[in-house]
């Protein structure tokens, strides 16, 4: 594929799916997977733009950093979810609502 458009469309679709996952999933781990989709669409965008717009490595470099950040975020989020599960034996985000809105 030697044009930018297919990559952008794919990234757009992945981003939208990620946002829908975040909105509709009730399981906290599911929401986290949605976040992962969003971040991967960002990576795809950066790499595609680096190849077709910038012709340099800047974008690819940023995507490597974002992969690391996503891993760090997932580690912390899973630790928090595990702790919630210990206290409440559920990971349903709608069930975790001690505080009123």
């Amino acid at each position: 594929m030697n044009s930018l458009l297919p990559y952008l469309i794919t990234a757009g679709i992945v981003f939208t799916l990620g946002i829908f996952t975040i909105i509709y999933k009730k399981n906290a781990v599911g929401v986290l997977m949605g976040v992962e989709l969003v971040l991967n669409s960002v990576n795809l965008n950066f790499i595609a733009f680096a190849r077709f717009v910038d012709y340099q490595l800047n974008g690819q470099l940023i995507s490597i950093f974002i992969i690391i950040l996503a891993a760090a975020e997932a580690a912390i989020a899973l630790a928090i979810i595990l702790n919630i599960y210990r206290l409440k034996t559920t990971v349903d985000v709608t069930q975790v609502s001690e505080m009123k809105n």
């Binding site: 960002v42 733009f49 974008g59 940023i62 912390i76 989020a77 928090i80 001690e98």
Partner: protein, 486 residues
């Protein structure tokens, strides 16, 4: 400037990084009852870094690390706010977290992240610095592991913040695609020479605002804030209300002055060039932010939640001054950040000490406090009136400069809406004061505050009173603190 010669411009950050490692090692060496020393060492580290930051004021403004960061006086100013606010938070925490050294390490790492946020000059650095602050904040929010509220706040925070960061990064990827650059100043030059498609640029801007807006608690990206403020340990709530918010404001100012509108006289031409009405968009968001914060604060019964909505409202006032896109507006924001730091920390310190003793965070628990703990109650009244913006307190001067900048920019309607909002805020601030002084309780058991609490309270009360009548030194500092590199 290349990496090696940049190091001499990076001394406070290097010192803080080394200190973090020292505190971690110290934690291993100390026995459980001696762990409070890690807190004291952390406070000392921050005092030293304040002096190191003052030295940076004399350095020439320059790009460091091949344009990844900049060192100018605004970066130094934000570092100063970050270091001082973390120092005050450590002083707040010493009586309550005396056996947990991780807590102080996490605060120091957050401070390092805020140092970087004030100096960002590249898309990559914006993402990394904001994540560094964010990741530590999630852990700090859930720090009291056995408390379900704290855990819930932490879960909501991380899910919401991770989404916001993802959306912001998506916006940045489009900005990179539109310009082919990652350096902010090069992005600006590319936007000037080849104006991008209007719709694409608008979408990019909205996506980026969503990410930075969540950090400064801008409506409609504020949903995480009330729950996080209520659930987190109160010292951490106080921390979030100043440190990360000031750093977020710094990123916003940096992004606006370098990418969206140049700080110089070209601003108007550049904005027209892009055909996107950023000031109008920001004005609407600012009005929404302050109105929402103030109106919802009216019917809160939990004082931490009330302070959460009040902090949303104050973010709105600061955004209002940014709408004018002039150095005056940005200087007013920097001035307000300092004033807000003292008065908000003061109010939080009274809440921390008193609610601990009363065993309740409800506003009703403060009933009759004026007779039970006069000094704390009078100080609280001063802080609350200062937050409202009544003369002759520091909050009035801060708000005066914000409104002056808005009026000078010709945004009269915005200024009127801001003043109306201040009037609304008087109602709920004065309600607490009324509970403290005009209502009495049956048994008036005194609520004593000890010497340490009194000293910290006085340290925050004096600037709040002093800057209300003699603010020219502070004004001079903010004047010299807005010599941006670009």
């Amino acid at each position: 400037m290349d990496n090696l010669s940049s190091l001499s411009y990076f001394v406070p950050e290097l010192f803080l990084s080394a200190a973090i490692l020292v505190v971690i090692v110290l934690d291993l060496l100390l026995k459980k009852e001696q762990k409070i020393w890690t807190g004291i060492v952390s406070a000392a580290v921050l005092v030293i870094s304040v002096f190191l930051i003052f030295q940076q004021y004399t350095m020439p403004a320059s790009e460091i690390f091949r344009g990844m960061l900049v060192l100018d006086s605004m970066a130094a100013f934000i570092k100063l706010i970050a270091a001082v606010s973390s120092l005050i938070i450590i002083l707040f925490s010493l009586p309550y977290f005396d056996d947990k050294s991780e807590y102080y390490v996490l605060i120091l790492i957050t401070t390092l992240g805020m140092f970087l946020m004030g100096a960002v000059n590249d898309i990559l650095m914006i993402i990394i610095a904001m994540e560094l602050v964010g990741l530590m904040s999630y852990v700090l929010t859930g720090f009291t592991k056995r408390n379900i509220k704290s855990n819930e706040a932490s879960l909501k925070y991380i899910l919401y913040a991770a989404t916001s960061t993802g959306v912001m990064a998506f916006g940045f990827s489009y900005l990179y695609g539109l310009t082919g650059e990652t350096n902010l100043i090069k992005i600006q030059q590319a936007l000037m020479t080849n104006p991008p498609h209007q719709v694409a640029y608008f979408i990019t801007l909205i996506l980026i605002l969503a990410g930075i807006g969540y950090k400064v608690a801008m409506v409609p990206f504020h949903f995480w804030l009330p729950d996080v403020y209520e659930g987190a340990p109160t010292t951490i709530t106080a921390f979030f209300s100043i440190g990360p918010k000031a750093a977020g404001m710094a990123v916003l100012i940096r992004f606006f002055t370098t990418v969206v509108a140049h700080g110089s006289s070209q601003a108007a031409a550049f904005l027209q060039n892009l055909q996107v009405n950023t000031p109008q968009l920001l004005a609407v968001l600012a009005v929404l932010t302050m109105t929402f914060g103030n109106v919802v604060a009216l019917r809160q019964t939990n004082i931490k939640r009330l302070m959460a909505y009040s902090s949303i409202a104050h973010a709105g006032y600061m955004l209002m001054a940014m709408v004018v896109f002039s150095p005056q507006g940005y200087k007013a924001v920097l001035f307000y950040l300092v004033v807000y730091m003292f008065m908000n920390f003061g109010a939080f310190w009274v809440i921390i000490t008193i609610s601990q003793k009363l065993g309740s965070e409800e506003i009703d628990a403060f009933r009759g406090l004026g007779y039970r703990s006069p000094y704390a109650a009078v100080a609280m009244a001063v802080f609350l009136f200062s937050l409202t913006g009544l003369p002759p307190l520091a909050g009035f001067i801060g708000k005066f400069y914000l409104f002056a900048a808005v009026v000078q920019g010709g945004w009269y309607v915005l200024a009127v809406l801001g003043v109306l909002n201040s009037v609304i805020s008087l109602y709920y601030y004065a309600y607490i004061v009324k509970q403290m002084f005009l209502r009495t309780v049956e048994e008036q058991t005194p609520v004593p505050i000890n010497l340490y609490e009194g000293v910290v309270l006085t340290m925050l009360l004096v600037p709040t009173l002093l800057f209300g009548v003699y603010w020219s030194p502070l004004l001079r500092i903010t004047e010299i603190s807005f010599n941006l590199l670009y």
